[in-house]
C-alpha cells in the first residue's frame, strides 16, 4: 500500500470515528468518466445495428398556415424509401406537449411555427430518408402570423391558439409600490430585451425504437427524463405505460431542451414507425433541425421601474415581463414563474409589484434552458442596480451591499432569510479576489482608446421545483453477492456528474468506496418514477433519497458486523469497505465477508429510498410565500477591456463565488461553475438565434456562435462558499444552473463602466457598443 493511500484510509477512519462523512467534499472521479475517456460506444447513435432503418422528420416551412395537402407521390419513388408516416398513423393521442396540451406530435390541420412537425419519412438509409423529405410537397393556406410578443398581447392580434395568446400570467404584490416610489429620491425606468439562446448540447436529439413481438416497444434515447418520455409515448402509442420501456442512453449534453418535447418527438416518431413497420427505427435531429425544433431560452421584454432613497436604500420596484413562448407553451409556464420570483434579484425591496405574461407567437417555441428564467430576470434587475448606483453617485458595489439579501431580510415573496443565506460571504470572496477597490481607483481617470471597466452582479437562485411541481425522487441500491453496490434511479446523468454525487452520498452512508459502485442505466422497467431530471435537483433531492436507501442497508449491515465482531452494533465502524470494532481496529471484517454473511442469513440487500421535498406554499394572487425551500447564492465581478474606437471588447477577468451549502464533489462544483459561466458569457456576448418572420436565420454552428477555447477569459477565479442549507443532504444546495445567470448583467455593467454606454438588449455585441459610443456626446 502506498503511503498516500494509507494516509487517505486513516483519515477516513478518523472521520468515521468522529461520525463524519467519508466521501463528502472529496474530488472523487465520476463513475462515468472512464467509459467517456475511452471513447466507448455509449450514446444512442452508437447502438444501431444492421437492421435499423432511419426516420427523418418532415417540418413546416411556413410559420402559420392550414395544411391543405401533403403530397407524397414523388417521395414514393425515392429508392429504398419504406414509408411516410403522418398523424393518421398515430395509434393513440396525437400530442407531444409538456404542461399545456397545445402541441401535436404530427400537425393534423394547422402549423403554428416553422419548427412544426408534419410527419416522418422512413427509409433503409439515412440519405434516402433525407431525399424522401425533400421530395414531399406540402401545400398550405397561409394564415396571418404574429412574431412580436408585445403585438401578440394586443386584443386585436392574430391568435396563435383559439384560446388567445396569453398562455400564463403571474404576479407579485408586496407592500405598496406607489408609496415606495413616493418615498424615493431617484427612480429609473428602462426596458430590457433578451434574445433566443440555443442550448447547443454537443449531441443532438436521438431516439432508437425496437418493436417487440408482444406489441410492446423498447426505446433508447438521449434525454433528461425517461419517465416523462415513457408517459408521453404511452399516450401517443395507446399502450399501457408498462408496455413502453424507455432507457436513457449516455446523453451528450442536455441543458434543458432534452427535458422538454424533442425527446418525445424523436422517440415518438421512431416508436410509431417501429411498431408499424416491425423494424428498429432510429430518428435523429441534425444540428440545423435541432436548433429549429427544440426549445430555446425565451426572449423577454422587461419594463423595470426601480426607486431608491438619496442614501441608496431601495424603496420600490415595478416590473412587467413579457416572455415570448413561440408557438407552444412547453415549460414556459414554469420558466415564467422562476423569472417572476427572481425579478428583483438578490435584494430586499419593501414594495414590489410584478406582472408577467407568457405569450404565444408564431416564432419557434421556447422552453427549458439552464437558468430557466433566471438569466432574463437578473439581466434586467442587475442593469437597474447599475443605473441606479450611477444616478445616485454611489459605488455600485456599495449600493448593492446596502440592499442585498442577508439573514433577517426578506425576498420579493416575503420569504425571511435565515442563517443559510451565504450571499455576503460570496460578495466578500469576489471583492477580495478581484482587488475591487484597488482596481476601482486604478481605472478612475482613463484616457486613450483602450479602456477597462468593472462590472458585477449578485445571484439568488431558488432551489427545489417549488412552483414547478412535486419535488421527489426514488433511488434504488442493491448490494450484490460479489459486494458490488449497484445504484439505479430515474434521475439521469447527462454531463453534470450529479449522479456520481448521489453515489458519493450513498458511499458515505454505507462506508464503501465509490469505486465499488456500479451505476445502472436509467430504465423505466427497473427504476421507479423519479420525476424529471431538471432544476439542478439531482444531488439535493436524489441525494436525500440515496441517503435514506443507504441508511436502511447500513442498519442491517451493522447488525451482521456486530455479530461477526462480537461487539455492540453501536461500536461498528465501516470504513472504506472494512468493518471495525470502534475500540479495537485489529478486530475487523472485510466487506466481502460481511456481504457473504449477510446473504447467508438472508438479509434483504436491496433497498429503495424515496424522498419528497416539503411543501413550498405561496399565494397565486400576491406571489407571497416560500416558493423555494432554500437558495443558492453567488456573486460575480468581471473586467472588460474595450477599444472605444471600434467597440470591440474582451472579457479579461472573471471572479465568481457560489454558496453551494456543502460541496459534495468540489471538482464537480468547479466544473459547473466553469462551464456555466462560459455558457453565460456566450449568452452575454455572442449567442443569438435570430428569427425573421418566424424563420430561424442562423440554425448552424457556423452562423450561431458559441464560445470556443479561444473565447474564454484569460483570468478566471472561482470560489466555493459553504453555508449549509436545510434541504439537501449534508447541507448541499444546487449548482448546475446558477453559474449561467450572472455573466450577462456583469459584462453589460462592465462595458457601461468602461464606456458610459448602456446596452439594454442582449447580446452585448461590439456593434451595439460602437453604436452607443457614436450616439454619446463627446467627452
Amino acid at each position: 500500500m502506498t503511503e498516500q493511500l494509507s494516509q487517505f484510509l486513516s483519515s477516513l477512519k478518523e472521520k468515521a470515528e468522529k461520525g463524519q462523512l467519508l466521501y463528502i467534499g472529496q474530488n472523487i472521479t465520476r463513475v462515468d468518466g472512464l467509459e467517456k475517456v475511452m471513447g466507448k460506444p455509449i450514446y444512442t447513435a452508437d447502438l444501431l445495428d444492421r437492421n435499423t432503418v432511419y426516420a427523418k422528420l418532415i417540418r413546416s416551412k411556413v410559420p402559420h398556415g392550414t395544411i391543405k395537402d401533403i403530397d407524397v407521390s414523388l417521395a414514393k419513388s425515392v429508392p429504398r424509401l419504406l414509408d411516410v408516416i403522418t398523424w393518421r398513423d398515430i395509434p393513440g393521442i396525437n400530442e407531444s406537449a409538456s404542461i399545456l396540451p397545445d402541441r401535436e406530435l404530427f400537425c393534423s390541420s394547422v402549423v403554428r411555427s416553422t419548427g412544426d412537425i408534419l410527419g416522418a419519412v422512413v427509409a433503409e438509409t439515412y440519405g434516402a430518408a433525407v431525399d424522401g423529405v425533400d421530395a414531399i410537397k406540402v401545400s398550405y393556406d397561409p394564415l396571418p402570423a404574429v412574431f412580436d410578443p408585445i403585438e401578440a398581447l394586443k386584443p386585436d392580434s392574430v391568435k396563435v391558439h383559439p384560446g388567445g395568446n396569453i398562455a400564463k400570467q403571474m404576479k407579485i404584490r408586496k407592500g405598496d409600490v406607489d408609496r415606495g416610489f413616493a418615498a424615493s429620491k431617484v427612480m429609473i425606468e428602462n426596458t430590457y430585451r433578451t434574445q433566443f439562446q440555443d442550448a447547443t448540447p454537443m449531441e443532438t436529439e436521438m431516439g432508437l425504437a425496437f418493436p417487440r413481438d408482444d406489441g410492446s416497444v423498447v426505446v433508447i434515447g438521449s434525454m433528461q427524463s425517461p419517465h416523462n418520455t415513457q408517459a408521453a409515448l404511452a399516450k401517443i402509442l395507446d399502450l399501457p405505460l408498462k408496455r413502453v420501456r424507455v432507457v436513457q442512453a449516455s446523453t451528450g449534453g442536455a441543458f434543458g431542451p432534452k427535458s422538454d418535447e424533442t425527446p418525445y418527438d424523436v422517440c415518438g416518431a421512431a416508436a410509431v414507425a417501429a411498431l408499424k413497420l416491425r423494424r428498429p427505427v432510429f430518428c435523429s435531429l441534425d444540428r440545423e433541425e435541432s436548433m429549429i425544433v427544440h426549445t430555446k431560452r425565451h426572449p423577454f421584454v422587461i419594463r423595470h421601474r426601480t426607486g431608491a432613497t438619496a442614501e441608496g436604500q431601495l424603496t420600490a420596484a415595478e416590473v412587467e415581463m413579457v416572455s415570448d413562448a413561440g408557438a407552444y407553451a412547453s415549460l414556459g409556464v414554469y420558466v415564467l414563474g422562476r423569472a417572476t420570483f427572481h425579478s428583483v434579484g438578490a435584494y430586499e425591496i419593501p414594495n414590489v409589484k410584478v406582472d408577467s405574461y407568457l405569450v404565444y407567437t408564431n416564432n419557434t417555441y421556447a422552453g427549458s434552458l439552464r437558468g430557466f428564467g433566471g438569466p432574463q430576470a437578473a439581466f434586467a434587475m442587475e442593469s437597474q442596480m447599475e443605473e441606479l448606483a450611477r444616478r445616485l453617485g454611489m459605488d455600485p458595489l456599495e449600493f448593492r451591499m446596502r440592499n442585498m439579501l442577508a439573514p433577517g431580510r426578506r425576498t420579493a415573496t416575503g420569504h425571511l432569510m435565515d442563517a443559510g443565506c451565504g450571499l455576503p460571504q460570496c460578495v466578500e470572496a469576489v471583492v477580495k479576489s478581484s482587488s475591487y477597490w484597488h482596481k476601482r481607483e486604478l481605472y478612475r481617470n482613463q484616457t486613450g482608446p483602450v479602456r477597462r471597466g468593472l462590472g458585477m452582479a449578485f445571484l439568488i437562485h431558488g432551489n427545489s421545483l417549488g412552483p414547478e411541481g412535486n419535488d421527489y425522487a426514488v433511488v434504488q441500491i442493491e448490494i450484490g453477492r460479489d459486494g458490488k453496490v449497484s445504484l439505479g434511479t430515474g434521475l439521469t446523468e447527462y454531463g453534470t456528474g450529479a449522479v456520481s454525487g448521489i453515489i458519493q452520498v450513498a458511499a458515505s452512508v454505507l462506508g464503501v468506496p465509490v469505486g465499488d459502485f456500479v451505476l445502472e442505466r436509467p430504465d423505466t422497467i427497473k427504476h421507479g418514477e423519479s420525476g424529471p431530471t431538471v432544476a439542478s435537483r439531482t444531488v439535493v433531492i436524489g441525494g436525500n433519497a440515496a441517503k435514506l436507501a443507504a441508511a436502511k442497508l447500513r442498519k442491517r449491515l451493522d447488525l451482521v458486523a456486530a455479530d461477526l465482531l462480537k461487539v455492540d452494533k453501536r461500536d461498528v465502524l465501516i470504513v472504506d469497505g472494512v468493518a471495525y470494532d470502534r475500540h479495537n481496529s485489529a478486530s475487523n471484517v472485510p466487506w466481502s465477508r460481511l456481504v457473504e454473511e449477510a446473504y447467508r442469513r438472508g438479509v434483504k440487500m436491496a433497498e429503495e429510498g424515496y424522498f419528497m421535498a416539503p411543501p413550498s406554499p405561496w399565494d397565486a394572487e400576491t406571489g407571497q410565500g416560500t416558493p423555494y425551500l432554500q437558495y443558492t447564492w453567488g456573486a460575480l465581478i468581471c473586467e472588460v477591456q474595450v477599444d472605444v474606437e471600434t467597440g470591440r471588447y474582451d472579457v479579461t477577468d472573471v471572479h465568481a463565488a457560489y454558496d453551494v451549502g456543502r460541496a459534495v464533489n468540489p471538482a464537480g462544483v468547479m466544473g459547473q461553475i466553469y462551464g456555466g459561466t462560459v455558457q453565460g458569457l456566450g449568452y452575454a456576448t455572442m449567442e443569438e438565434l435570430v428569427h425573421k418572420d418566424g424563420e430561424v436565420v442562423n440554425p448552424s454552428l457556423g452562423d450561431y456562435y458559441i464560445p470556443t477555447s479561444m473565447d474564454i477569459p484569460k483570468n478566471f477565479k472561482a470560489y466555493i462558499v459553504e453555508v449549509p442549507g436545510t434541504l439537501g443532504p449534508f447541507g448541499a444546495k444546487v449548482i448546475a444552473e446558477p453559474p449561467i445567470v450572472l455573466p450577462a448583467p456583469a459584462v453589460r455593467n462592465a462595458v457601461l463602466d468602461a464606456t458610459g454606454v448602456s446596452v439594454n438588449d442582449l447580446p452585448v455585441t461590439s456593434e451595439k457598443v460602437l453604436m452607443g459610443l457614436k450616439r454619446k456626446p463627446p467627452e
Binding site: 468518466g33 471513447g39 454537443m202 449516455s250 462551464g675 448552424s700 454552428l701 474564454i712
Partner: protein, 150 residues
C-alpha cells in the same frame, strides 16, 4: 487505419466519418453537426487534425488515419486520459474523444505548449460543458510532467 492496413471499397460519395463509424465500428468519432463546425469528428489524417465529416473516404487512399481507438495504447494519450479524469474534463463526454485526439496532436507538435497554444490547438473542437478550463489544465499538466521526466 489505426496502424493496421485495411483495404475495402468505398463509394465516391462516402464521407470518412461514416466509413469510420459504420464500416469500421470506430464509434469514438462523433457527429455534432456534419458541417465542419463542431470538430467532434476530428481524427488524425497523415498526422494532421482534420474533421472527418468534411473528408471523403476516397481521399484517404494510402493515407494513415488515427482515431482515439488507435491511441488507447499510446503512453501520452493514456496520461491525457487520466488527467482528463482527474480534472473532470470529460463531463457529458461527447467531445472527449476529439479533445483527446486534438490534445495528442498539440503535444506531438508542441511538447511544451503555452496556454495560448493549447487554446489554439483545441479551437476547432467545441465543448459546451466544461468551459474548456479543465481540458486546458489537464493538457498543461501532462506537458509539465513529461518535461520533468525527460
Amino acid at each position: 487505419m489505426n496502424e493496421a492496413e485495411q483495404s475495402f471499397y468505398v463509394d465516391s460519395s462516402d464521407r470518412l466519418i461514416d466509413v469510420l463509424r459504420d464500416r469500421l465500428g470506430l464509434k469514438s468519432v462523433k457527429e455534432g453537426c456534419g458541417t465542419g463546425d463542431c470538430g467532434l469528428c476530428a481524427v488524425l489524417l497523415n498526422g494532421r487534425l482534420v474533421n472527418s465529416c468534411l473528408v471523403l473516404a476516397a481521399q484517404c487512399r494510402g493515407a494513415s488515419v488515427t482515431t482515439l481507438e488507435g491511441l488507447l495504447n499510446d503512453p501520452l494519450t493514456r496520461k491525457l486520459q487520466s488527467k482528463f479524469l482527474e480534472h473532470n474534463a470529460a463531463q457529458c463526454g461527447f467531445c472527449t474523444p476529439a479533445m483527446l485526439v486534438a490534445a495528442k496532436d498539440i503535444l506531438t507538435h508542441t511538447p511544451r505548449p503555452s496556454t495560448g497554444q493549447i487554446q489554439a490547438g483545441l479551437s476547432g473542437v467545441l465543448c459546451r460543458c466544461t468551459g474548456y478550463y479543465p481540458i486546458i489544465q489537464a493538457i498543461k499538466e501532462v506537458s509539465e510532467e513529461e518535461k520533468e521526466r525527460s
